[in-house]
Symmetry: C2
Subunit: 173 residues, 2 copies
């Protein structure tokens, strides 16, 4: 399947540090949403109103939202106001690879490059709360190697780093 548009046309769109760089975020979010349509229909899944709305909410900013934050937004918009409403939609998005759970924050963030297979690593700024998906290939390879040495087979991995993003680092210095 062809990409939805030429990424060479939108510098930064596929950059690994997208969340930390100034960029055309309206485009970034719209693109993620279109990709989500493709991904879900290709999987025979349904991007229903709640699910779509939750994804839109996550896509508003490059940071992570707690399930109850999402729920509060949904509730004011006429959707259900009980926890399972948010948790179920979030679980769906995670399963489809459209969102990720950040374990350290007990929160969720929209995937910045859905549709592309990836075992992500996250960089979390403790100052501005931005969350970026880093290039995780080499990290994951090193982890696989360490696991293989002791005969352990990895099925899922959690790789998260807390620290300062370039902008906040600059501001602090």
């Amino acid at each position: 399947m062809a990409p939805l548009h030429e990424h060479s046309d939108c510098p930064g769109c596929a950059a690994p540090d997208l969340a930390f760089a100034t960029h055309d975020h309206a485009h970034c979010a719209a693109d993620a949403l279109s990709r989500a349509e493709v991904v879900t229909s290709a999987a025979g899944a349904r991007l229903t109103p709640v699910r779509r709305r939750v994804l839109e909410i996550l896509l508003e900013e490059h940071w992570a939202l707690g399930a109850y934050d999402v729920l509060a937004r949904l509730a004011t918009e006429g959707f259900g106001n009980q926890p399972p409403v948010a948790y179920r939609a979030l679980e769906f998005l995670v399963e489809q690879g459209l969102a990720h759970r950040i374990q350290r924050l007990n929160a969720f963030t929209a995937c910045t490059h859905p549709g592309e297979a990836h075992a992500p690593a996250f960089l979390i700024c403790r100052s501005c709360s931005a969350v970026a998906e880093a290039v995780a290939g080499p990290v994951r390879a090193a982890l696989d190697e360490a696991a293989a040495q002791v005969g352990f087979s990895i099925e899922r991995s959690t790789i998260e780093a807390l620290g300062l993003c370039p902008a906040c680092r600059e501001a602090t210095a």
Copy 2:
């Protein structure tokens, strides 16, 4: 400072896959406890009865215990039975590097090589629940490299993998 004993004398004592291998666990636990005494006194901290007991409880098995599991044990032994009792002791042990928090499990596990500086990676068996500390140097290096590429400075990292340990993998096959 000299090590408490010669590790060359106890094969497996410092092995990275300690938790997945059959080993002299009584020795393993006793060793960790002695090291804990050294580490805390060197830091000018006090390994009080509750703290020591919590560490002993964590050292009983190579898996992770929730704060409330630890609390239940403490309560039957005459210590306080309210959550802060367990959380405070666990927090102390984590600060001293004597225990680690496993984010995926909301649980805690005793450190298998306290006193040695290390940014750990954990291998968690989804079948038998064993938790091992893997050799994390190369993984951490790859993560640092990925972060550096986008100007992010890492302060703390969480590296955890879920999968099957050698024994459970064998059993399943």
